[in-house]
């Protein structure tokens, strides 16, 4: 386990470093002529992008792990439960229609959207439902929220809004500013900190609601807390970067292989793995031909879909009796 941690930390540092300096050409040139400007370039352009990629990835990983523990389902994740899409809908409604401009206020709109999506999921599927019910309900909510987002953008006051839908539905870290990064990551960090403290309780939930309750944890309250904290963290990030799929599904899955299956202990490793995954995807995006913008969600979906199918196939073969 310690070796795994060292590897994770190493990968994190490498990816973060690469993200800060790629593409290197302009920075190395500036370092010779105007070092202060080189530093500003890293600080004002590369740093927000790096922080957001790592932070959003960590949020998706940790909230994915928490949702999976709460729903007792290895397929729950911010995107499949519809909370990412709900967050995009909330942020778009607030920004394009209600004229909300402050980044923190927009983050709150995102959180509200994510919270409503999760509430809808509870209402439709309940908490301890079968995988099929959970998946169908979550995907339905995600699709509805996505369509709603596109509609709001198509009819928004500005005719340019329609072309923004790609970024909202598939995510982007390009040209974000430090204040935006702060508005997303400070609430997200607070929410994730509170989530991480519930790791032990979530581990006990693995034995069922009754056992967890008998030990003194309150399953319903815990579920509510997970939902609210997830909504805040995901909502804040999506309001700045858009909705990004599959990281919240894959990272917890990988994390649980490190924590020998314990869902609660996997929260922090999932955050690390999520950060590495998303920052790497953002590095890949930079390899695209100049002038073409590939939303980062395209990469995560391309890699995530086959993994998702593989997980589903594996679930079919579990011994049930």
């Amino acid at each position: 386990m310690t070796r795994a941690w060292i590897l994770l930390a190493g990968a994190l540092i490498v990816v973060a470093g690469l993200s800060l300096i790629t593409p290197i050409a302009s920075i190395s040139e500036l370092r010779r002529t105007d070092p202060e400007l080189a530093w500003m370039l890293v600080q004002e352009l590369r740093l927000p992008r790096t922080l957001l990629a790592l932070g959003h990835g960590a949020v998706l990983g940790m909230t994915g792990a928490a949702l999976q523990a709460t729903f007792a389902n290895p397929l729950a994740s911010p995107d499949i439960t519809g909370s990412s899409s709900g967050a995009a809908l909330g942020a778009v409604a607030g920004g394009y229609w209600l004229g909300i401009t402050g980044p923190l206020a927009l983050a709150a709109c995102g959180a509200a959207g994510a919270g409503l999506a999760l509430a809808a999921l509870f209402a439709i599927a309940g908490r301890r439902s079968e995988t099929a019910t959970l998946l169908l309900a979550g995907v339905a909510i995600a699709l509805a929220a996505g369509a709603g987002t596109s509609l709001l953008l198509a009819l928004a006051p500005s005719p340019f809004a329609f072309y923004d839908s790609f970024e909202w539905l598939m995510g982007s870290f390009v040209d974000r500013s430090l204040p935006q990064a702060a508005a997303a990551l400070v609430p997200a960090a607070l929410a994730c900190g509170l989530l991480a403290r519930r790791a032990k309780a979530l581990d006990m939930m693995a034995l069922g609601d009754d056992v967890a309750a008998s030990v003194g944890f309150q399953p319903r309250r815990l579920a509510m807390e997970v939902v609210v904290l997830t909504a805040i963290a995901v909502g804040a990030c999506v309001s700045v970067c858009g909705a990004i799929a599959f990281v919240g599904l894959i990272a917890p899955y990988a994390a649980r292989s490190l924590t020998r299956g314990h869902p609660g202990r996997a929260l922090i490793p999932a955050a690390c793995i999520g950060a590495i995954l998303l920052a790497s995807a953002d590095l890949l995006v930079r390899l695209a031909p100049a002038g073409r913008a590939i939303p980062v969600g395209v990469i995560t979906t391309a890699i995530g879909t086959p993994l998702f199918i593989w997980i589903v196939a594996k679930m079919r073969r579990t011994v049930t009796s």
Partner: protein
Amino acid sequence: MAASALLAAASIASLNLCTDEYLLLLARPQEIASVSFLSQDPQESALWKTAKGHHANRGSLEQVMGRKPSAVLTMGGGGKATAMIAARLGIRSLDLRPVRSIEDVAYNFRMTASALGEPARAKPWLERLARLQRTRPRREADTIWLGGGGQTIGTPSIGADWLRLAGLKQRSLNGDRVSLETLLVKPPTVLVQSQYRSGQMSRGVEWLKHPIVRGAKSRRVEVDGRAWTCMGPMVIAEVERLRRVLQ
């Protein structure tokens, strides 16, 4: 027959935001049969007050047929239907040139004025254009025209020509987009920033609020983006203003 056609009052319909500009600038109110709906939108046209109250069309001839125009203005071809219907109804169909040079603007003025039956009406505008070209400033400051999302003007282009009349040389950039990195590392001497729809949220408008754009170390001049959509006669006033401001 020809005499009565000449005596009949001109009533012109314009099907296009860019052709609207010439009509609204040259015609008397009773000579305007219809303008495109975009001209009546304050976000799209600086002439919206003039355009208000006239019949609005969505760009097709069948929508203006009921107004019985004597001529219809299109730009870049009106489509087969337009030419056909116009021919059958005896409506003159005038295709103005898409603006690719200052000379095209002059041409369009002359065409519109003659469609109105008074070629002399174009004269003040043509003189203004000629004066601009005669008094072009010697200096050519390194300039970047900035729209939402980093959109900029290509070179060579009509936009670059207009800027040159203001003593500004649009920098040649890769594609029609300027990156935040360029603004930070190699800021232009002059930054001409468009305020087009700046009050309405879009990712493009958000881009302009990035600290790097806000803090760019350039002489910044704001312009009315609406004029630069068509690159037509409305830019004349912009160029004159740019000259005054950058004196």
